[in-house]
């Protein structure tokens, strides 16, 4: 039971992290290869505040997310002007730099041995509530003027600018929002696992999140979440196959990318199920089809 409980908790935390990647990659079309570094910033800052200064969890969590946002600003300010392939280079470099700093400031962070003794403040219900809240705000963001402008600039920056959209500003706002959410995932992880080590946050995690977003459907939050849930728990479910499980995992990912290049869900969102019904109700006879 404990085992399932922990898988569910970690899956929930991953889902929150993936939402950050979804926003940067799915909404604005940039590749963030260092998203997990924001998780590290959130986790370490909140954990150190709690350990060294006895800061209560709520404030530590806020500070963690704020620190992640601030580092997002540091990376985002110079990168939003860059072409998308350079952005992946810069975020990759930033991510690895953070890992290096954490590894090499052993007096503060415990270095490669890790930060131990973080109090346990996070359990499954809190993670579940957090996932629900994050889904709500991210879905609202996508559904607002911000989301529309992001999707517009993702398909065509030139046309987006000609519609008066401030492309750089919008990329930055989205990047910061994503950093905050990923940072919060780091806070949850720190106070759940009670232990942090830099190696957990390197680029392979960021790459995994990108894979999750692509498998789920680059333009679908629903897809990103479903695929996060499946792909995070899949290796665990395949545990009986021991050495083969990574291979099976890779084959499944390859098959999906190969046969559904737009991901499982493409740009389908779950709210279309009830949106469609509403539209049919709203459409009064005589209005509409006059084209």
């Amino acid at each position: 039971m404990d085992y399932i409980y922990s898988i569910l908790t970690l899956t929930g935390i991953t889902m929150i992290g993936v939402m950050g990647t979804y926003m940067v990659t799915g909404l604005t079309g940039q590749f963030s290869f260092g998203q997990a570094a924001f998780m590290a910033v959130g986790g370490y800052v909140s954990a150190m505040l709690a350990l060294k200064f006895n800061v209560p969890f709520v404030f530590a969590a806020l500070a963690g997310a704020a620190a992640a946002t601030l580092s997002g600003l540091l990376v985002g300010l110079p990168t939003v002007r860059l072409r998308r392939d350079y952005i992946s280079l810069v975020t990759f470099g930033f991510g690895e730099a953070i890992i290096s700093v954490l590894n090499n400031s052993a007096q503060l962070t415990g270095g490669a041995e890790g930060l131990v003794g973080i109090p346990k403040r996070v359990d499954l219900p809190l993670v579940a509530i957090s996932v629900a809240c994050c889904i709500f705000v991210v879905a609202c963001y996508k559904n607002s003027k911000y989301g529309r402008q992001c999707l517009a600039l993702r398909t065509d920056e030139l046309a987006a600018r000609s519609m008066g959209i401030d492309v750089n500003r919008l990329k930055l706002v989205t990047f910061l929002f994503a950093s905050a959410i990923t940072g919060y995932a780091g806070v949850l992880y720190a106070f759940y696992a009670q232990y942090l080590e830099p190696g957990y946050f390197n680029w392979t995690i960021s790459a995994e999140w990108l894979i999750i977003v692509f498998v789920g459907g680059i333009n679908s939050l629903t897809g990103a979440l479903v695929s996060a849930a499946i792909l995070t728990s899949l290796p665990e479910m395949l545990r009986f196959a021991s050495a083969w499980r990574i291979i099976i995992y890779c084959v499944i990912v390859l098959l999906i990318i190969n046969f559904r290049p737009n991901g499982i869900f493409g740009d389908w969102e779950i709210n279309r199920l009830w949106k469609k019904k509403n539209n049919e109700k709203q459409r009064t006879p005589g209005k509409g089809a006059q084209a």
Binding site: V137, V138, C140, Y141, N143, S144, K145, Y146, R148, Q149, L151, A152, R154, T155, D156, L158, A159, A160, R161, S162, M163, G164, I165, D166, V167, V173, F177, N219, D267, N279, G288, A289, Q290, A291
Partner: protein, 256 residues
């Protein structure tokens, strides 16, 4: 100096050694429909790109309603009141038809980040109003009833109309149309001319357009500028310009 609504004077742009646009000037007065014609590669689209800020002119100035636009960012220029369409249609594929039109009002939508992520009543009211307005623009160009469709799934002619609706939704002072009839069949072209004339009659827009088809040029424009190798070749009333032997030689190549 003339003082029209849109005053473009002496703009130049060179790419490497090529003078794509060389000392070109034109004026569009309020409510006027101005045509820019010229052979392929004459620099017509570059003129639009200079006016809308895609490129910064090497020399010369662009003034809209007393405000100097040259040097401003592309999105600032759009918000100052210049809407445009593109030669090769550039719709937003990730958005449906109505959302494409809504992007025009989104940059100035009256709600902030917090009300967006919490879907506060203020945000929902603003979005509803924007959707309502977008629906009006769609019905204006005859695209009612397909609000939820994907733009890339529409026939070419309808995509052109959608792009026009999106540009109109900016409520621009001047609207630039880059080869709006390209790729349309003859009946769609007549349809398009009627649509532009109807909209013009109703709203008295100021329009500057680039076109190849004589039918469109002659039916729409009040004033014509002929561009050849980046330079102004002739300008004036459409009929006079059409009879100008230099223009016939450069543009049409033969008498028709």
């Amino acid at each position: 100096m003339s003082s029209g609504l849109l005053d473009v004077s002496g703009i130049s742009k060179a790419f490497g050694g090529v003078h794509a646009v060389d000392e070109f000037s034109f004026t569009a007065n309020p409510g006027e429909i101005v045509g820019i014609i010229g052979p392929n590669g004459a620099g017509k689209t570059t003129v639009f790109n200079l006016v809308t800020g895609v490129y910064v002119p090497d020399r010369g100035s662009v003034v809209l309603d007393g405000v100097t636009l040259s040097g401003k960012r592309q999105d600032e220029i759009a918000r100052q009141g210049i809407g445009r369409t593109f030669q090769n249609i550039r719709l937003f594929k990730g958005l449906n038809v109505i959302e494409n039109v809504m992007t025009a009002s989104d940059p100035s939508a009256p709600y902030d980040f917090l009300s967006a992520i919490l879907a506060l009543p203020k945000k929902r009211a603003a979005d509803r109003a924007a959707a309502e307005k977008a629906r009006d623009y769609l019905s204006l160009v005859g695209l009612s009833g397909i609000e939820e469709a994907r733009p890339e799934a529409l026939p070419y002619g309808l995509q052109r109309k959608l792009e026009l609706a999106r540009a109109l939704a900016l409520q621009p002072k001047v609207i630039l149309l880059d080869e709006p009839a390209a790729g349309l069949n003859p009946s769609e072209v007549r349809d398009f001319i009627d649509l532009v004339l109807r909209l013009h009659e109703r709203f008295n827009f100021t329009i500057v357009f680039i076109e190849h088809r004589m039918e469109v040029v002659m039916n729409l424009s009040h004033k014509l500028y002929v561009l050849s190798f980046g330079k102004l070749l002739a300008s004036g009333e459409p009929e006079t310009v059409r009879r100008n032997p230099e223009v016939i030689e450069a543009y049409i190549g033969e008498e028709d």
